[in-house]
């Protein structure tokens, strides 16, 4: 049955928890026949909520990084920057390989001709 119900209750509890409104008791009443399974899971969720609190990065780091990014963005703007493109890189690689292969082929043909004429 109620595995789906259990998941729904846990999900709803987590949503309420992050908004600071959850009460385990209310959720336990929703599934009394499985309260021994539900209760420890709600308790773990509450522990997670109190352990994982938002932190702030240092102000200096935030300021410096913003400055750095703005400078880079302005350089991109001045240089008419084109972002990395995998298809473009592949095309360049393919062209390079074709060139090397053709050059090798040309050398082989020339060598054969030289050998034949000798």
């Amino acid at each position: 049955m109620n595995k789906k119900m259990l998941k729904e209750i846990l999900a709803a509890h987590a949503d309420q928890l992050v908004n600071g409104k959850a009460s385990s008791e209310d959720y336990l009443k929703l599934l009394p026949e499985r309260d021994t399974e539900l209760e420890p899971l709600l308790s773990v969720a509450e522990q997670i909520q109190s352990a994982l609190q938002p932190i702030s990065p240092p102000n200096k780091f935030e300021r410096d990084l913003k400055q750095e990014l703005l400078i880079t963005a302005q350089q991109h703007q001045l240089e008419g920057y084109r972002p990395p493109s995998m298809s473009r890189d592949l095309l360049v690689l393919l062209a390079t390989l074709t060139f090397i292969f053709s050059l090798g082929l040309l050398l082989i043909v020339m060598r054969r001709k030289l050998t034949q004429s000798a």
């Binding site: 998941k7 999900a11 908004n19 938002p54 932190i55 702030s56 990014l69 963005a73």
Partner: protein, 194 residues
Amino acid sequence: MTADNIEEAELVELAKTDPEAFGKLYELYVDKIYNYVYYRIGNHQEAEDLTAKVFHRALDHIPRYNNKGVPFAAWLYRIAHNLVANWHRDHNRRKVVALEQVTLKGDKQGSPHHAAERSNERELLLEAIQKLPPERQQLLTLKFIERMSNAAIGQLMGRSEGAIKSLYHRTLVSLKDLLAEHQNLVDQLPVDEE
């Protein structure tokens, strides 16, 4: 039109060519990305380095960003997720968050004993969280720190909302087992006789 009062989608479009608009996006997301990275790797210095990499990469690639129904935040978190995964691969280790260095927002003052006990419990739980597979850690970070809805988490992780609920259920069960395992070990320790 200034970058202060426009919708995010427009801001993203603007940021492709306007450094000031990119600066606004940065301000909107820097705390979120820093938190996401910090709780995934557990070290402030490395979190700063990786956060910087995330935004530099975003700046390099934003001209190619296409809004195909995927929010900009999801795109940014995807970059952060990939960099964190690379970091774990390179370092091949998992650090425990040094709680004494964490400045918690809204952390209430209590008695020293209570605070120590609480801190110890928190440390144990964070250790247990860092033993979880990466996708479960990601889920907890997005749910409890970023306070995202299951639908938004699903979009970001490429899963359905139902799958996220199932993953959350399994994550809680794993954590409960890990904590119980730890408690069993503590219970088996010999007690000092006076």
